[in-house]
Amino acid sequence: MVQVKNLPYLTLRFKFYKKGALQYISHLDLVRTMHKIVVRAGFPLWYTEGFNPKPKLIFGAPLSIGCESDCEFLDVRMVERVNEAEAIAALNRNMTADMQVTEAYYTETKFSDMAYLGYIFRFSLLDGTKALPAIVACLEKDRILIEKMGKSGKDKVMKTVDIKPQIRSAEVYAEGEEICIRAILSADPASFLNPEHLVSVLKSECGILREQNLARESYFILRTDAYTKDLSPFR
């Protein structure tokens, strides 16, 4: 292990999409996979110190299984500057079509500056337009309560949480047979809103969704973009 202590590094940020088959890969498995991808790409990686040195990979907000994304972030620490375009090509060669890098840039911003994430939800319903007013009404309520597993001391208990403050904006519209919601949700680690939670609220509150027994498969979630606190694009 020849690494000099405290070697300086540059952070190269990659923005990538994760779609199709890869929506079934968990965040943990993505971390493991990416690790091997950056090694294969042959980058001048910065390694952690200690007994078991590892490259330093930092991911943006995790994405749950079953969600697709156009807006995933990965920070990789390098000991030397690599050309951005070449870095993109090197990574993409080592990834399959369902996951590809779209942008790369050197940065000093932190993922903690990411305050919101934008999503598009699509529901395929038999009689979709009927559900629209119900969904709008549900989202306009003052409080949107969900039951969530939480911790109380050491024990896991069910808690009721109001997610309304975690929804920055939500706009409901119909697109052909589908009902869509364009929503901006909190990405702050302390109040991160999993988009699945929004779906479960709609399922329990909106008659038509419940009647159709909205199965997990008949809706679709895509993460589209990321914002800072003042709603400017996160970079």
């Binding site: 020849v2 890869l22 890969i25 996979t33 090694v39 007994f51 990834m95 997990r216 498969e217």
Partner: protein, 617 residues
């Protein structure tokens, strides 16, 4: 064809959907209109297990390097996925194309463990392929089996069209070429193909071409080929020169975590040791080593193509590789700088490994495991496990000084000639390991010492010196297990034991004959699936199946086989001669040991198979 979109409703409702999606880096997709043979490499267990199988990795690479063949992977869906597939009438598909395996030309099953048999049959059912070889239509795939259980696959004989005896690299290629040739010249029919394969390709066993007759007492009278051109005994096929054998330069990169998620380098085949209970030590002989240069080249190439930062050197006993020092030196020239760690499982700790541990921080000797197998020197001599308690304690001291604090010891209950003294010996040995720690100066002792004693039940296996032995009765094994528990008094010793019921079924299947076929089908009809998993195994279900088919399992276990009896696996010639095994059995009962091949060749017979070897005379 079932597309991912169609499957999406299901994928979102099952555990680990990543098992079913395919599309991994380095998975091989060909244009099906441009290949002449579709091969399904079927692993009768879930994805994480199958993806780690070295043999499957080798065969996937070998078959796909032929432009005329497209070899795809097929795994057993987990219980929850299987239920969904049955509910929605989704057939078994291959990972790469997502296409129905029923349309393939050949399906090759890896038979790595007897308890996977029920999974094999369930997979055929899911695929919509008739279970019995004789019921399959002309256009059904050829169902082929290989791997260690193929050496006695008689219980599965009615279900397989063809068995691969020996190493698959060349054998499978030959089988595929004959198939393609006969399809091309129009001479193909199932019967004609199977007959020609049996007659012309060394290592092919076609069970339907043999007639089994039985004596009045139920033992086998004879196993006779039905035609003169079918070999009376099928000789194992080996790869003669491992340095020239194909080795993958890429590995399919799983998205989800698999059991051996790393580069595995096979350093040699066979074993010089000759433990008398061990089947692997016999069937993979003769011993053939790869050169350090070949291995190092393969390792480097695999590292660049996979990004795995761990390389595991695989063999039956790593320390017995005659050029281990050269190999590790060669690897260390680049692995340390590339942040790649070496792991050397099945390494006996000796002076060399101590040196190795000091030289490189990144060597992982694996969890520290030792396999004395028996608790007394007497019984270790019987089984020809040539390690002494002193060897063990020396290794353990090295380990403790190296900072390792947990040690796992493997033993077996029910070995031939075992007495209660031998069982006490297990507890005693474990205690000596604890004591060895306290004999070290205080500053050299690791913190949090723990010794795990893990005890399996002896299963007599074909092609071992103990192939004729009685298996200990079920009741006796359970009594021994609880006796051992009472002998272990030190709280720092953790005691695990294998379920005797599992070993009992394993024993029936491993030495079974064709009369067991209906039993396996009955167990499957009763829901048996993934029996190799604790949650899949159901002893009562097996007992119901035996009863329903009128088969007495004790015939295969506690009865023992007569020395002059025709054994179900006599039709297979794995190189090791019966004379050698009988000689070893005699020595076992006299408590005499047999030296390792590196010291002296004992003439096991494997050298008749040829092959580039260092020791065999």
């Amino acid at each position: 064809m079932t597309s991912l979109k169609q499957l999406s409703s299901i994928l979102k409702s099952v555990q680990k959907p990543g098992r079913y999606i395919g599309g991994e880096m380095h998975s091989i997709v060909k244009d099906k209109s441009e290949v002449s043979l579709r091969f399904g490499l079927c692993f009768p267990d879930v994805y994480e297990i199958g993806m780690s199988n070295l043999g499957s990795r080798l065969l996937y690479h070998t078959l796909n390097s032929d432009p005329g063949i497209w070899c795809e992977r097929v795994y057993a869906p987990a219980q929850d996925m299987k239920a969904q597939m049955e509910k929605h009438a989704i057939p078994l598909t291959a990972i790469e194309s997502g296409e129905d395996v029923k349309e393939f030309d050949i399906l090759g099953f890896s038979l790595h463990y007897e308890l996977c048999y029920t999974t094999v049959l369930s997979m055929l059912k899911l695929a919509g392929i008739p279970l019995l070889s004789k019921d399959r239509a002309e256009d059904a795939p050829i169902i082929l089996g290989g791997g260690p259980c193929a050496y006695n696959s008689e219980p599965m004989a009615d279900y397989f069209d063809l068995m691969n005896i020996g190493e698959g690299e060349e054998l499978l290629t030959d089988i595929c070429h004959l198939y393609m040739q006969m399809k091309k010249d129009g001479s193909y029919s199932r019967a004609a193909f199977l007959r020609r394969a049996a007659a012309e390709i060394e290592g092919v066993y076609v069970p339907s071409l043999y007639e089994i007759t039985y004596k009045e007492d139920g033992t086998i009278a004879a196993c006779t080929p039905k035609y003169p051109d079918v070999p009376a005994r099928v000789k194992k096929r080996i790869v003669k020169d491992l340095d020239k054998a194909p080795y993958p330069d890429k590995l399919v990169m799983p998205y989800i975590e698999t059991v051996h998620d790393r580069i595995t380098l096979e350093i040699y085949r066979g074993c010089i040791r000759g433990c008398r209970f061990c089947q692997a030590g016999m069937i993979y002989r003769p011993i053939r080593e790869k050169s350090p240069e070949t291995l190092c080249k393969a390792a480097k190439c695999l590292f660049e193509n996979t990004g795995y930062e761990e390389i595991s050197l695989i063999s039956l006993s790593t320390s017995d590789y005659s050029r281990l020092r050269e190999l590790t030196d060669l690897l260390l020239e680049w692995t340390d700088d590339a942040h790649v760690s070496l792991s050397l499982p099945s390494l006996r700790l000796d002076s060399f490994s101590e040196e190795l541990m000091q030289k490189i921080s990144s060597v992982r000797t694996g969890g520290l495991t030792f396999a004395p197998e028996a608790g007394t020197q007497r019984l270790r001599d019987v089984i020809n496990k040539n390690v002494s308690e002193e060897d063990l304690l020396r290794s353990v001291r090295i380990a403790f000084r190296g900072g390792k604090s947990s040690v796992k010891l493997y033993f077996m209950n029910g070995l031939p000639t075992e007495t209660y003294e031998d069982i006490e010996g297990i507890a005693h040995t474990a205690k000596r390991v604890i004591d060895a720690n306290y004999e070290l100066p205080r500053e050299e002792r690791p913190a949090g010492l723990g010794v795990t004693v893990s005890v399996a039940c002896f299963v007599p296996k074909p092609f071992t010196a103990f192939q004729w032995e009685k298996q200990d009765s079920f009741e006796s094994l359970i009594k021994k297990q609880s006796y051992l528990r009472s002998c272990i008094t030190d709280r720092r010793i953790k005691y695990n034991y294998h379920e005797a019921k599992v070993s009992f079924i394993e024993a029936v299947l491993t030495r079974g004959d064709r009369r067991l076929a209906p039993v396996i089908a009955a167990a499957v009809a009763d829901g048996a699936y993934l029996d190799a998993w604790d949650e899949g195994f159901d002893f009562d279900r097996w007992m119901r199946a035996f009863a329903a088919c009128g088969v007495d399992p004790a015939y295969y276990t506690t009865r023992g086989f007569g020395l002059d009896e025709v054994l179900p696996w006599d039709v297979i010639d794995c190189g090791i001669t019966k004379q050698f095994l009988l000689r070893e059995r005699e020595k076992a009962y006299k408590g005499e040991t047999t030296p390792a091949c590196s010291e002296h060749c004992s003439g096991c017979g494997a050298s008749a198979l040829g092959g580039k070897t260092r020791w065999c005379k």
